[in-house]
């Protein structure tokens, strides 16, 4: 029975199998989100730092390097995720061995996340006070030291906020991948809600998705506040 037909919420829908499926969906979603975010940062953090450093106002401006990276990031960013999902599926198959399921979804997720993470990192690093960078230069610091001991350190709070945003966005993307059988909660919501009109299961999965995003936001923001030494506590 469905929510809208019966006019009430039918708990009978939630058989042990369904509950088990939802729990598995939660794990799959967390797995996709966390692994993709991590991999996204493995690529996006250095990329973002290079963008910030070689940019016009960076510590080592380089038009050629910046131009190429900026172009790549823009191109990747402008492809809608669903299209990217389909376009990279041959690559996914090559890497993972199949083009459906949560492990397969990680490939397009990382490709979509890395440039977007790079942009956030770039902007966090650009926010670092020029005066502090100059002070480090006046002490004789080389660029590597400035990156690791000044830029990343001073941008810390903003970078953590970025991670929080990335987690939320990537979780949303992972749910979108449900349309092509991407696994996780989004997959469940689409299979039950869209194809079977099973509103109870869809609503519950959506609520869980919202809760997951909220929890991540809360933890991320709390962590960034906790580690921020700029404000007097």
């Amino acid at each position: 029975m469905s929510l809208f037909l019966s006019g009430g919420f039918d708990w009978a829908e939630f058989t042990p199998q369904v509950r088990e499926m939802i729990v598995r969906g939660i794990w799959e979603t967390l797995y996709m989100t966390l692994v993709s975010t991590f991999m996204g940062y493995v690529l996006g953090l250095p990329l973002g730092i290079v963008l910030a450093v070689t940019g016009e106002k960076g510590i080592a401006p380089n038009k050629a390097v910046y131009g190429v990276l900026d172009f790549i990031v823009n191109i990747t960013r402008s492809v809608p995720f669903l299209i990217l999902l389909i376009v990279v599926s041959p690559l996914t198959k090559l890497i993972v061995g199949k083009s459906y399921g949560s492990s397969a979804t990680i490939v397009p997720l990382v490709i979509a996340a890395a440039p977007f993470i790079a942009r956030m990192v770039e902007s966090s690093v650009q926010e670092v006070d020029k005066g502090v960078i100059e002070a480090a230069q006046s002490m004789g610091a080389d660029n590597f030291t400035i990156i690791t001991k000044v830029l990343i350190v001073e941008a810390k709070t903003s970078l953590i906020v970025g991670v929080t945003i990335a987690l939320g966005t990537i979780l949303g993307y992972s749910a979108m991948a449900g349309i092509v059988g991407g696994g996780g909660l989004g997959d469940i919501a689409i299979r039950y809600g869209y194809y079977r009109y099973d509103m109870e299961i869809m609503v519950v999965t959506i609520i869980i998705l919202i809760l997951l995003v909220q929890i991540m936001q809360y933890l991320g923001m709390a962590l960034s506040k906790l580690t921020d030494k700029r404000k007097i506590k």
Partner: protein, 259 residues
């Protein structure tokens, strides 16, 4: 005696290609070891640009910058970084690492110079004593007053035993009383360690209080330079006269604040 800082025909033009601004126009200047040299001028006169050429934070368009006998522009990047450890700088807005505590800030230049941790901590302790902040080692800059932050910046600047300390409006963000305390500290550092100090300021009172020499900068040129006594007793150029008299009046009427 060979001057510790020697500037010859220094010219700096910003945005040469697009819309050129001549910030420095054929400057010659010599600063002797142990001097406290004031550089005074109106806003936009080119004071910061000049001093930033002393450690090549700003690259001159033409001219020669010789510091401690080295022609800075002839150095490799690595040699320049080495040279900079002898030329420290403090700033109007302190420019401390806000996410690091006082001790970590002071140890930063030592880290750059690959000083071992225990040695760095010992040095940090000494420096905190010199600037009178021994109880603040673990505090973060956000927990300190402006005067205390500048003391941390001074300690950090002294960490590598520099021969020169450049101060770009180091007291402009501080109240008169704190300014006076910081100036006392600078004077003490000059006397005790023989560090040559270059002070950029808007305030004639600052020059009066601690400088041995002064150069008056106007429109990218040095219009007059000499010992503080000379310039105050008998300013030669119109600019210097106007400057000295105007500033004097300001100081008398407004209680040492300057503009």
């Amino acid at each position: 005696m060979e001057p510790i800082i020697k500037i010859q025909s220094l010219t700096k033009i910003y945005n040469e290609k697009t819309n050129p601004v001549k910030a420095l126009d054929n400057i010659d200047l010599e600063i002797q070891k142990g001097d406290i040299y004031g550089i005074i001028g109106m806003s936009g006169a080119g004071k910061s640009t000049l001093v930033r050429c002393f450690n090549l934070l700003e690259r001159p368009t033409s001219g020669i910058v010789t510091v401690r006998g080295q022609d800075l522009q002839s150095l490799t990047p690595r040699e320049l970084r080495r040279a900079r450890t002898h030329i420290s700088m403090i700033f109007q807005h302190f420019n401390l690492l806000m996410q690091k505590n006082v001790e970590e800030n002071i140890c930063f230049p030592l880290y750059i110079n690959k000083v071992k941790k225990p040695e760095a901590h010992a040095r940090c302790k000494e420096l905190l004593e010199i600037v009178g902040l021994s109880d603040k080692a673990k505090a973060y800059p956000s927990q300190l007053s402006g005067g205390q932050r500048q003391r941390v910046a001074i300690a950090r600047a002294l960490a590598t035993n520099p021969e020169i300390l450049l101060c770009d409006e180091a007291t402009s963000a501080l109240d008169p009383q704190t300014t006076s305390q910081i100036l006392d500290l600078l004077r003490e550092i000059n006397a005790k360690f023989g560090i040559t100090i270059v002070i950029i300021t808007h305030e004639m009172a600052v020059v009066r209080e601690i400088c041995s020499h002064v150069a008056i900068v106007d429109g990218g040129r040095i219009v007059e330079k000499g010992t503080v006594d000379e310039i105050f007793e008998s300013p030669k150029t119109e600019e210097a006269k106007r400057f000295v008299l105007y500033r004097e009046r300001k100081v008398t009427f407004e209680g040492g604040q300057g503009i």
